[in-house]
Symmetry: C2
Subunit: 282 residues, 2 copies
Amino acid sequence: MQIIKNILPMQEAAAKAKRKGKTIGFVPTMGALHEGHASLLKQCRKDNDISVLSIFVNPKQFGPQEDFANYPREEKKDCLLAKKEKVDIIFYPSMKAMYAEGYLTYIDVESLNSKLCGQFRPGHFKGVATIVGKLLNIVSPDILYLGQKDAQQCVVLQKMITDLNWPVKVKVMPTVREPDGLAMSSRNKYLTVQERLQAPILYKALLQAKKAVTQGERDATKIRYLIETLIRENSASHIDYVECVDSNTLLPLKTLSGKVLIAIAVKFGQARLIDNIVLNIS
Amino acid sequence: MQIIKNILPMQEAAAKAKRKGKTIGFVPTMGALHEGHASLLKQCRKDNDISVLSIFVNPKQFGPQEDFANYPREEKKDCLLAKKEKVDIIFYPSMKAMYAEGYLTYIDVESLNSKLCGQFRPGHFKGVATIVGKLLNIVSPDILYLGQKDAQQCVVLQKMITDLNWPVKVKVMPTVREPDGLAMSSRNKYLTVQERLQAPILYKALLQAKKAVTQGERDATKIRYLIETLIRENSASHIDYVECVDSNTLLPLKTLSGKVLIAIAVKFGQARLIDNIVLNIS
């Protein structure tokens, strides 16, 4: 396993692989790796000749009041996990390499950037689109691996890649969960013992919503109320949103039909957790 | 010479060339080709295994009051010039291929986008950056060729490429001029006979400014006044701007020093013409 810290050597390694006709799979992360990332790396390993993992805590996707400074950095642990998953290259750039003084260029996926989490994290998806655009130009992957847990991120990045014609496929892998259903997230570390015990209500509420839909419920207001009530009654948390939206446009639905994303964002103390399910409703 | 009208075949042709270890040179244009474009194509041919020319009148870089509808389209003439310059591939996409319904993604080079022409053409450089970003992903060139006539475009695109880490070099080629000094431009076609006779004053005024600098003048206000006076006294035109700026940051200078861009934009009837010179002042 090679660790590359600068942009040019990473681009040269990618160009060299391409010339040899090798395929490159890419998993971009902010480190603090967990089993969710591991599942992306496993699929990446399986599909491609070369697996590249990037670790970069991207300041441009954090708001001024957010957790950039406290976001967990666990270089050694991350390297162990990467090695276990047979990563070929870890791309581990410095802040200065990625955002030199006088940096000016941003990619923005309009409209999608302001939906769901975008209402609560202005500029977040612009930061995500920009860093992933940069990383695509540095790593030149054939396939990009993303986790379904960050549903809006998947939609925004797929749209960016389609609109700007990046020659890369996107594979979205299912959310990996703790045994009690809590979606794996680097931010789960922020939970107190008490909050950790309550947090699984997010997924339980989503499953209850799924059950209601299976039993015939199509009214988005009722589904949202069901989820909100379960979360409120079973935790001391603050709900940012519970929404039922079209899974491509992220536009809110009144009546559930087609491919529906039910997405939630809830604050437990210092931790803002997100989760979602996608339902195909005929 | 091959004419490719769709995105995927162009990407496949580029990927195939890369696998064979061939280099790709790229000249993006809006068609209505003239000797300025020809000079880019000649250099492109000289430097690379494969020369790609794109022709696409990009609606996103025209303001609502601008000349998108009237911009000259000369497909047959352009193909003849391309053939003469030994272009390998003309990429000639449709509007629908480039901007499908529901298009949402834009690239913006902040700060640089609002200087010089940016003050008079809001959104123009966002449109330019976006289309060139798309074309870089479609053509995968090793070298991108741009004309110095569009000085701000060169600065904006070089900054975009640096910031977003596109693995491509930029070569800026000198402005090609008519025998009387008028910079070649597709928009010269809009000039009436009378305006065409007056338009060379732009370059003459720039040369007078250069002469003044050579003779020791360093005061930007005086240089601007010199140019403006010459243009006003010798033409019936409207000056959008005459500016002396740092050639990298495009920030206005009070005292000329270093690499200075003297840039002008002047309206002659229906034609908005731009021109510039770069001076290295020690």
